[in-house]
Structure formats: C-alpha cells, structure tokens
C-alpha cells in the first residue's frame, strides 16, 4: 500500500514537471496567443519549438489591428458583377452587338470562340438613396444595407481557371501546397476558444470548391492550422460523437482510465508529448460538449431564423451564415463559407444568368444581409470582417458556347468586384473603377496580392514579415515579391 502510494506521488510529481514543461513550451513559443492550440512536430521534433527559435510572429505596429474574426463568403465559380453590383448602361445599349475589337486584342478566353457579342445586364438596377450605389433587382437586401458595405470594383487576378484562381486567392499560389488565409490568421493570432476549432469551413451548394480541400489547407504550416470542414448533417465535426451505445459517463470513465494509464507512461518515459496527448483528449472531451451547442441552430429565435431564411437540419448557405455568427460569437477566429453554383456560363438553364443566377442570388442576398445586420446589432461587426467575392470576374460578352441560347458570361481575370463589411473597413466607400464595358480597370487596380497584404494588415499582422520557413525559403501569404501593397484607402 505504502509502496503504491509513493509510486503515485512520484508519478504526480513527474507529470507536474512535464506539465510545467509543456506550459513553458507554450509560453515561450506562443507570444501572440498560440497557446491553447495543440502542438505539432515534425517527426518528434516539435514544430512549435522551432517557432521559438525563429522569429516571433510579427505584429504590424502601424496597424490598429481591429479585426479579431473573419467571415469569408466565397461564391465558388465566380458570380457575374454585371448582374449584381456593376451597373454598365453601355452594355444594355450595345446588347448583342459585336464586341469592339479593342476588347479582343491579345485576349484569351476559356470558352468564348470567334467574335463575341456584348451582353447587356439581365436585370433592372436600382440606386440606393443613401450611398448612390446601384444594385440589381437580384440583391434587394444588400441594397438596404449599402451604407455598411465597402466595395472594391477593381479587383484583378492573373488566373482564370477556377482551381488555380481559388488557390491563388486563398493560399497565395496557384498551385497546391501553400497555406490558406485562415491558416495564416490562426497561425498569427491563435485561437480564443480552444473548445471549438479556430478555423472552420462550411461548403454549401452540394459541391466542393474547385481546388478541393487545398483552399483551406495549411500547406507548409503545421496541420493544426488547417481549416476543419464541418458538415451540416450528422456530426458537424467528423467523429465528434461517441460510438453508438457509449454514453457520456462511459466515455468519461474510459478517458479517466486512458489518462491514468498515459500518466503512468509519461512518468516512466518522460516525454512531454505524452502530457500533450492527455491534454488533447481532455480538449476533445470538452469539444464534444461545446461543439454541438455551437452548431445547434435550434436555440435561435424564430425571428432570427426568419431573418436569415435559415431552416435547421438542411444544408443551406443561409444556415451556414447563421452558423458563422454563432461561431464568431464563441471566439472562432476564422469562418470560411464556400457556396457552389456561381459559374454562370449560360450553357443551359442550370448555369445561366436568367435561371441559375436568380436562384443563387435568392439563396445569398437575404442571409448575407442578415448576417451583417445581425453582427452589427450584436456589436460584433466592429471586430469581425466579412468578405464577399468570387475568384475572378465574368466577361462583358455573351459566352454563347456552341451557340447556346441561354445567356452567360465567360471567365474574366482583369476585373471583378468584392465587398466587405465591418472590421475597420470604410463603410459606404467605393474603391476603383472599370471602363464603360466593365472590361479593364481604369483606376485604382487592386490585385489579389494587394488584397492579401491589406487583409493581414487589418488583422494586425505584418504581411511582409509574417512568414514560415519551409524548404529553405521563408514563405509568405503575399508571395516572394513585395508587389502587394496595403491599401490604406479602404480602412476607416
């Protein structure tokens, strides 16, 4: 008996010392709040240790760093700017007239062949009284919150196929293998609530984005920074539920035993990783309680559900918008929504402007407006940045693939429109302009690199110094060159 007790004392003191070690580990390596995340290592060598040896995550001293949370709404496939926000009367006037030669010189299209025709906007536009902006009839709710929105009408990319363009926008490289925005944000800022993953991804529309999981992957960053894809049915986080027939008391009892056995082992072998694993299992246990609560839309009022158009239990973009607000409320750093179905080529009613785009907008307009209103009324919009956009723009011309009678627009990298709300963006402000055909940027071009630099700056991170060493190079989200510029004009 005595022997057993003394062994227990020895184990406890050993485990305590390991705990202190693990904690010191964290404090040293996580100057800006990485504590609370799990550890990662390369084949037994803790990666986080390597962060100690490297530079601290560089804060951007010039930034007020107002943004604490990001909700990124990606309309996968890329919506048509001409049917939503960019009112171009010249297109209406020249509807189905041959496109001017000046737009075709040295141009390459994904699908357009021969000499295409101009395509007029397919919907009526109405001006917002407060901001003077035009909005099409497809987005009436967004028009009503126009004062809260910041538009960039001069976005431009150099990729015009979906997968590479999505990768470029989200990971900074058109090829897979690099870290996504959410991963960088989590790497730089850490998590506020360790009981829920810090970077959560939802996919609606029934289809993954074109680049698959790589667009929320952590690339060369440790795996703990990758987005956790959550489902709208079954377990929101994969394998969150205990096996059938195992209730909480049984799980608790088995985790207690597991933990005691692991502590015996930790005392014997002295490896801090064992202590970390014990903690990760405890975190998992807490997450099993916290996550279902966070993901349960059933606790929202009928009024809120109505505002978003959310219907608990279904896989809707609207549900995911409401989920995003719930998660941000619980301290989740980064919520990424991908909604499929915006690739409006016009080969048939399933991908044209007059049917498919109408359907997609009816699913998007209300919940996005509701999300921004809701964040605002709860005081969350101050430090939450909402981003809306696709991966590139659409052409001013009708695609008419194989003589299709349905109207649609081809991929267009030279300009597209994104909007933002909250997080210190200048509300009601419009940045950049395009020519009368909406074909080329005429003022204040904003490249994907500029956007990336600006977004990191808004998070209080230095885009030029936030880097991770991999294969001999300090990789950055903004890429190897300094071409990306922080756009101060956008900031309030």
């Amino acid at each position: 008996m005595l022997q057993k007790q003394s062994r227990k004392v020895r184990i406890d003191s050993m485990v305590d010392s390991l705990k202190r070690q693990t904690r010191r580990h964290f404090l040293n390596r996580c100057p800006l709040g990485l504590a609370g995340l799990a550890t990662a290592s390369i084949l037994g060598t803790s990666v986080s240790d390597r962060v100690i040896a490297g530079e601290r995550v560089p804060a951007d001293s010039r930034s007020r760093g107002r943004v604490k949370h990001v909700i990124y709404l990606h309309m996968a496939g890329s919506p048509s700017q001409f049917e939503l926000f960019d009112y171009k009367p010249v297109l209406a006037k020249q509807h189905l007239q041959p496109c001017p030669d000046s737009l075709l010189a040295n141009q390459k299209f994904a699908f357009i062949k021969g000499h295409p025709q101009i395509l007029g906007p397919q919907f009526e536009f109405e001006q917002c009284q407060q901001t003077g902006r035009y909005f099409s009839s497809l987005v009436p709710e967004l028009r009503k919150i126009s004062e809260d929105l910041t538009f960039v009408r001069s976005m431009s990319t150099d990729q015009f196929n979906h997968a590479p363009a999505e990768l470029f926008l989200h990971t900074g490289s058109p090829r897979p293998g690099s870290a996504s925005f959410g991963s960088w944000a989590l790497y730089g800022l850490g998590s506020e609530n360790e009981n829920v993953p810090g970077f959560i991804v939802f996919v609606s529309g029934g289809t993954n984005p074109a680049a698959g999981k790589s667009v929320w992957g952590s690339g060369f960053l440790p795996g703990i920074y990758q987005g956790v894809q959550c489902r709208s049915f079954g377990d929101p986080i994969l394998f969150l539920s205990d096996p059938p027939g195992m209730d909480r008391s049984s799980r608790r009892a088995s985790l207690d035993s597991l933990s005691r056995l692991n502590r015996i082992h930790a005392a014997d072998f002295g490896d801090p990783e064992t202590q970390t694993r014990i903690e990760q299992y405890e975190l998992a246990f807490r997450m099993q309680v916290a996550a279902p609560e966070a993901f349960d839309l059933g606790t929202e009022t009928a009024e809120t559900l109505e505002m978003y158009g959310a219907r608990p239990g279904e896989n809707l973009f609207a549900n995911n918008c409401l989920m995003a607000r719930r998660l941000v409320e619980r301290g989740v750093r980064f919520v990424q929504l991908f909604d499929w179905g915006w690739d409006v080529h016009g080969t048939g009613p399933h991908d044209d402007l007059n049917h498919q785009l109408v359907k997609k907008c009816s699913e998007m307009d209300r919940p996005v407006a509701a999300l921004i209103r809701d964040l605002k009324q709860r005081g969350l919009l101050e430090d939450t940045l909402v981003i809306w956009g696709g991966e590139f723009g659409r052409t001013s011309m009708n695609e008419a693939r194989n003589g299709s009678k349905y109207f649609g627009r081809d991929h267009h990298p030279h300009c597209f429109t994104m909007f933002f709300a909250g997080g210190g963006m200048r509300p009601g402000f419009d940045y950049g302009a395009t020519d009368e055909f909406g074909y080329f940027v005429t003022e204040n071009r904003m490249s994907v690199r500029d956007l990336q630099a600006t977004l990191l700056h808004m998070l209080g991170l230095d885009p030029y110094r936030l880097s991770f060493p991999f294969q001999g190079l300090n990789h950055r989200w903004i890429g190897p060159t300094d071409e990306g510029r922080i756009n101060q004009d956008l900031l309030a």
């Binding site: 062994r7 010392s17 799990a38 990662a40 290592s41 390369i42 084949l43 037994g44 060598t45 490297g54 530079e55 390459k108 994904a110 979906h162 997968a163 897979p176 029934g206 993954n208 074109a210 698959g212 790589s214 440790p222 795996g223 703990i224 956790v228 894809q229 079954g234 986080i237 994969l238 394998f239 539920s241 096996p243 059938p244 027939g245 049984s250 009892a253 088995s254 035993s257 056995l261 692991n262 015996i264 082992h265 072998f269 002295g270 490896d271 990783e273 970390t276 694993r277 014990i278 990760q280 998992a284 997450m287 081809d410 030029y464 060493p469 294969q471 001999g472 190079l473 060159t481 300094d482």
Partner: protein, 807 residues
C-alpha cells in the same frame, strides 16, 4: 575615409526587388546547434585562436544577412558586391572599395559596415534586418584575419570516408555508427541510455521495418532468449517480409506525390496503381537505389526497356492534370514540368530549386540557366496535360491474355470457316458471330498506367526561359544541361538518362548524403541533417557531419543496397537504446540531437490504421491491386465538375487492407489520414508534420473503423480469458503494445472493465449498440454486457499514447 564618401551610394536603402526573407529561423536551428557544440566543448580563450570553419560558421551568417543582395543572384546584386565566392568578394565593388581583403580586417568594407554604429552606414540596412550579433561579427573578423578562405558548401564536397573516432566507453559500440555517436556524446558530456527491453525492441523493429506490430508469440520467443543471433535473425526475417516493401513504399510515394486522381477541379480517377505496386516490389527486391532511381527517371530510355521499367517512369507522371473546361493545356503541361524539376531536385539532391524559376537563387549556387537547363531535359516528353493521360502503357492480366488468345483463335477459326462457306445465309450468321466475338475482344480492357515517352527528333520542343516563371512569357532559348555545380562539362543535349546517371556519378556526394540522411530520419525520427528536404545553405547543418559522410560512402560502397543500409542502422547500439529520458537529458538536449536515448515519435497515419487493424486481428494480408475504399463518412458533396466525393465501401477483405492501398483522391484526402498529417500528394513531401490534436483523438476514439477494431480486439480478449478477466486484459494489452502490463496497468484496466460491466448491466440496449449486435435476437444478456465492456477496453488500449507511438 574613402569609404565614407561612397557610403550613401553603395548603401541605397530603397533597392527594388529586395527580398525581406531572412532565414533567421534556419539560421538559428543551425547555429543553435552550433553554439551548443562549440560552447560546450571549447573554452572562451581557445576561441580566439581557433580556426573558423567557413561552411559551418561563416557561410550561415553571410547567407542570413548578406546574400539576398550580395549573393548568387546577379540580377539583384547591389553595389557590384557579391560575397558568395572568393573571386567576387575579393574584387573591387562599384564604390571602389574592397568587400573583403584576406588577412586585413581593417581594410575589409564588409567588416566596417557590419560593425558600424552609424545607421546610414551599417549593414544590413535597418529596414532589411537586425544588426549582426557580436558573436557573428567576431566570427567574420576572425575569418578575415585567418585569410578569409572559401570552400565549397559542405553538402557538395566530395565524400570523405572518415576515420572511426576513438571513444572512452569502449565496451558500448557495436558497429561503426556507435563510435561516431558515442564520440559526440562524450564531447557533450552525455552518456548513452541503456538498452531498451527485448519486448520494446521487437515492437520497435517491427514498426520501423514493416510498419506493423509484432505477433505476441514472436515477442515472447525473443524475450526468452534475446541473444545477438536472435536479434539479427529477427532483423533479417523482417527485411524479407513482404510487408517491408509496403511500409517503405509509403515514404517513397510521399516523395513521388503518388495519388489515384488527377488533381485540380475535376480530380478524376487516375489508374496508376501499377506504379505503386512497382515501388513495393522494388523495395522488397532491394533494387539498388541507383537502379531504382534510373528506372523511375528514365526507364523508357534504357536499352530495350522492360514493361516494369516503363511502369517505373510513372514516377513523374504523378504530376497533376487539369481537365477543367477552358484550360490551356500548355499552361498545365508547363506546371507539370516545373513540378518534375522541383521534385527531382528535392528527392535526389535535397535542394530547393523552385526559386530559380523566376530568378537565380538567392542563397544557393543555382542560376536561372541551371533551372531551365534541367527544365529542358524534362521538356521533351509526349505527355501534355491530355485528358486521357496519354501516353499510357497497357497491360493485360494473365486471365485477360488467355481470354484474348481464346477469342483470337475463335475468330480466326470462324473466318477460315467463312472462307469455306458458300451459302450467303451461313456467311451472314458467321459474320454476326465474328462481330460478337470482336466486340467481346474489345471489351477486355487492359490496365493502363501513364508513362514517360520521349518525343521523336522531329517533334522536339524548343525550351525557353519563362520570364517571372510565367509559362506564356517566353524568354531566350535554353539548351538542356545539368546543374553546373556538379557538372563542369555540360555535355551535348543531356537526356533524362544522362541526368539519372549524373546523379550517381558527378552529383553523387549530394545524392548519397541526401539518401542516407532520409533513411536515417525514417529510423531515428530526425535526420542528421534535420532539414532533410534542404541541404542548401538555408538548411540546417549536420549534427554529425563525419557520420553522415561515413554513411553516405557506405551506402555507395554497398552497391546502394537500402536493405543493407537499414540493417546497419538497426543493428547499431545507438538504435537499441531505451527511449526513456530524464529531466536532465530533456533539459540539455530536448530534441535528442546527440542521440543519448532511443527515438520516440508518433506513428504515421497509415501505421496508426494498420496497427489498429493488425492488433484487432482484422488486417487483410492481401497485397497489390487497385486502390481500395475503406469506410469513410459521407460528405454529401461532389468534386467541382466531377463525381461524388463519397464512395461505396469496398466489399469483403478490401475494407481491411493496409493504408497504402487506400484510394487517395487529391481534393478529398481520406479524413482519418488527414487528421494524422498524411499528405494529399499534390506536391513532393519529404517530412510529414506530426500534430497532436483533438480532431485526431476523435478519429481513434470514434471513427467507425476504429470502433470496429475495438470490438474485434475486445471480442478476442474475451475469447482468451482463459481463467479470468485478467488473462483477457493481458492478452489484449500484448496485442496492442507487445509487452506485459504492470500490475498497476492491469489493475486500472480491470477496474474499468468491472465498472463498465456494471454500467452496461443497467443499459443492455446501449451494450448491444456498442457491440454492434442491435436487433439480433436471442443474444445472451450477460455476454452482450461483457462484450460491451471489452469493447470499451479495446477502445482505451487503441488510444494509449504508447499505442500511437514508436517507442
């Protein structure tokens, strides 16, 4: 004074194209080790007289602080000063001053700048980096005083076969490795750990050599007589076990970025598993590493290549294909060639070439011409991002060949018969039969595998520099050539075969070091060069440079036999050390750089799956063949422009196959593998990360695959409770951990078992659900309750830290 006048001009702060990518991190890794090493072994007084080592001490400092603007990239060189070669560093810079004057620190502009207190004069400029630390400046000063001699980067130098060092503790070493390791331990005031227990050694050997846990019977036999002979026999048996190839192929397939889909948006199925099987067989046959490499890089260019040598060339057909509508095939063909160059450089040369796509490398001697010279070698194959993956090799199975022969014979017979037939009606009947048989013949679809095939002389491509790395921005013509660092004579139009031969001839010192280090890393958990993917100046320095050279030379001398090499590693006493550590060792050497204890690290994603299946008796031993689809949760999603991401679980034993056979779809990696850091195989991966997260805990706790394992393990434990529950617990414990539990451990499990029996007595429905027998009639109540408790035990055992760890 002359210097001052030129200061402003030569120190222009707003240089365009500056790259603020200092590699403080790698530097610290390298120097951190270094400082420990020197700090421990050498007194301060000695240091002023001690010869400074250019590679180990000086070059890392120059690379970190200087090379970005004064290095190999001539297009971004400031003030006409470059410091990476003696010739340039000793020359007069634009300002008229000399950067480095050997033996004369006071005349060396570099030293004056780095020591300066004047913000306008000091290098590096304040907006580009922090001033050098006093210790760094001291090293530069001493180096200049000692003559500022340059030498080739350590990794490129000819291999030495160093002397075996002398050691004090002469009884410890068992083979040459141990002398090198012990010498370093003694220098650092550390002592090796004792030998691991026989049980742990058996498990360690199994996990390292075949990736599976041992049979408890094998453990028992070895533990009874753990002799040197028995150990060696065990090693030999494992090296001969076909599971060896399955285990080691995983590592190679990460490098080869092998997947069963094309990647990008549509991510269609790609039939290329014959290549995966080729790799497994090559490891099992111990195909020498040079031959193994040559066949993969250029099997098609060998004289009269065999079918297997052609299949080997699928190595570089693992690049992604973009079949999204509206893509420019040339763009993605170009991307594939870039990937082939980068992958080849990473796999064989441990070198990151990617930087030189856009500009000459900032730190390593790789010019943009070197890059596109290699690019041109790879630019001459037929494949061009085609939807159908051509060119492919077709292969009929033996059964298919028989069927084809039979049909051919029947068709010929019918044709002959038709010749003899006069009646038109009979001819018609025969024609129809022939047609049917031809259709049947057509329907026999061969297996295909994409392969490399060189364009003929009339269709060779003209390779041009891609300016800024953009495929459509063509620069000047470039000729195929090998990397100038190892190739003084560039040769005329080298082919992939020349490249493969060059890797094992002129470039051999680097190739051998990289390969030796990678295998060391897979066994010891950490490479002698920690950055096993980067042997360039930004990578870490070897912890045991002499040992690395000795190993590299040995690998070559042994005819590049990887089995001999791996055997040598596991036969060492270094390998056999106990992995227990003490607070003192942990404090002095937290990463176990000096190898004063056995390695301890988490298993790979595939191993975690394989060991759980093996321990629970479910693992199928079936080898080879098409990828399989074990149970995976539904996502309810399709790939963009492609089919469903969900799959029907493979029937029969295919759901229990080793992880290496699991279908890898690039846009949707198998979720439980993703949780344990497997790669999605889009890019060449040398080292996987090892994370430790709650999301991973969910997999082994709750994934139905692991619940099934827990049930099966629990059931066999129940079946083995010969006399008591205790016996069953010991049985299950041995199956998972290959050792006997302590009294305390078995007591803990027994207590849990008893409490769970009580728990499930009150909840029989739950018990039936957990055991997976819901709805089955007339199950004895007590049995179901006990099985539920055993399932909980199985679940706990499979989640033990020790179960997930190679110890």
């Amino acid at each position: 004074m002359k210097l001052r006048n030129t200061t402003n001009k030569s120190l222009d702060r707003n240089r365009p194209g500056w790259f603020p990518l200092e590699s403080t991190f790698w530097w610290l890794c390298g120097m951190g080790l270094h400082v420990t090493f020197w700090g421990v072994s050498i007194s301060a007084q000695d240091q002023t007289e001690l010869r400074v080592d250019y590679s180990q001490q000086v070059r890392p400092i120059l690379a970190k602080h200087c090379f970005a603007c004064h290095g190999p990239d001539a297009n971004h060189r400031e003030s006409g000063l470059a410091l990476h070669t003696a010739e340039l560093a000793y020359a007069r810079a634009d300002s008229g001053e000399f950067g480095i004057v050997p033996g004369q620190p006071e005349a060396s502009g570099v030293l004056i700048r780095i020591e300066s207190d004047d913000d306008d004069e000091r290098m590096p400029p304040s907006d580009h980096g922090a001033p050098l630390a006093a210790g760094e400046i001291d090293i530069i000063r001493r180096w200049i005083v000692q003559g500022a001699s340059y030498e080739q980067h350590w990794a490129y130098r000819p291999m030495q076969r160093p002397e075996i060092p002398a050691v004090n503790q002469r009884g410890w070493p068992r083979n040459e490795i141990d002398y090198f390791v012990l010498a370093k331990l003694e220098q650092n005031g550390l002592a090796p750990a004792g030998r691991a227990s026989p049980e742990r050694l058996v498990r360690r050997l199994h996990l390292d050599l075949i990736g599976l846990p041992p049979d408890p019977e094998v453990v028992r036999r070895f533990a009874e007589e753990p002799s040197e002979t028995a150990y060696e026999e065990l090693v030999d048996r494992l090296l001969d076990n076909p599971a060896y190839g399955e285990h080691w192929a995983r590592m190679w397939l990460d490098l080869a970025r092998y997947a069963d889909s094309q990647g990008y948006a549509e991510d269609h199925y790609r039939e290329i598993w014959l290549y995966r099987d080729w790799v497994i067989e090559a490891f099992n046959q111990d195909k020498p590493f040079d031959e193994f490499s040559r066949e993969q890089l250029a099997g098609d260019l060998l004289p009269d290549p065999t079918e297997a040598q052609l299949i080997a060339t699928a190595f570089h057909r693992n690049t992604m294909t973009n079949s999204e509508g509206g893509t420019d095939d040339e763009e993605f063909r170009h991307a594939a060639i870039v990937d082939r160059v980068n992958t080849t450089a990473t796999v064989w040369l441990g070198t990151t070439m990617a930087c030189a796509q856009c500009h000459s490398h900032k730190y390593d001697p790789i010019s943009i011409e070197d890059y596109y010279g290699l690019f041109a070698i790879f630019d001459q194959t037929e494949d061009a991002d085609h939807y159908d993956e051509r060119p492919v090799l077709q292969r009929y199975t033996p059964e298919q060949l028989q069927d084809r022969a039979r049909l051919d014979a029947e068709i010929s017979a019918l044709r002959a018969q038709r010749e003899q037939t006069a009646s038109e009606q009979d001819q018609g009947v025969l024609d129809q039969r022939i047609k049917d048989l031809q259709a049947a013949l057509q329907a026999i679809r061969p297996l295909t595998v994409p392969i490399m095939r060189e364009l003929d002389d009339n269709h060779r491509r003209e390779t041009r520099l891609a300016i800024g790395g953009a495929f459509s921005n063509k620069g000047e013509l470039v000729a195929a050539r090998l990397w100038s660092e190892f190739s003084r004579e560039l040769g005329e139009r080298p082919t992939r075969l020349d490249l493969a031969n060059w890797l094992f001839a002129e470039a051999r010192p680097l190739t051998a070091r990289v390969a030796a280090n990678r295998h060391w890393e897979k066994i010891f958990g950490r490479g002698l060069v920690e950055t096993s993917e980067d042997f360039g100046s930004q990578g870490s320095l070897p912890s045991h440079p002499e040992l690395l050279d000795w190993l590299a030379a040995k690998l070559e001398a042994d005819g590049w036999s990887l089995k001999k090499f791996v055997k040598m590693l596991v036969m060492s006493e270094t390998y056999r050390q106990d992995s227990r550590t003490t607070a003192e060792k942990l404090a002095r050497d937290p990463q176990n750089v000096w190898l004063s204890r056995g390695a301890r690290y988490r298993l790979t994603a595939e191993q975690i799956r394989d060991t759980a299946l093996a321990a629970s008796g479910l693992l199928s031993p079936k080898m080879f063949g098409p990828p399989v689809k074990p149970p995976q949760p539904k996502s309810g999603l399709t790939a963009a422009f492609g089919g469903s991401l969900d799959w029907e679980t493979s029937p029969g034993e295919d759901r229990y196959r080793r992880g290496i056979y699991t279908m890898i779809r690039r846009t949707n990696l198998y979720p439980s593998f993703q949780a344990f850091d497997a790669t999605n195989r889009t890019v060449c991966t040398v080292r996987r990360m090892n994370s430790n997260t709650p999301v991973a805990a969910f997999v082994t706790l709750n994934d139905p695959v692991y619940v099934e394992c827990a049930r099966a393990l629990g059931r066999s434990a129940r079946d083995h409770r010969v006399e008591s529950v205790h016996d069953g617990l010991v049985f299950a414990f041995r199956r998972v951990l290959a050792r006997d539990p302590s009294a305390e451990e078995v007591g803990e499990l027994q207590s849990l078992w008893e409490r769970q029996v009580m728990h499930f007595r009150e909840r029989v429905q739950d018990a039936a659900a957990l055991v997976g027998v819901e709805g089955e009639a007339d199950l004895p109540y007590a049995e179901v309750v006990e099985l539920a408790a055993w399932t909980v035990i199985g679940n706990v055992l499979l989640n033990l830290d020790e179960a997930l760890t190679r110890n």
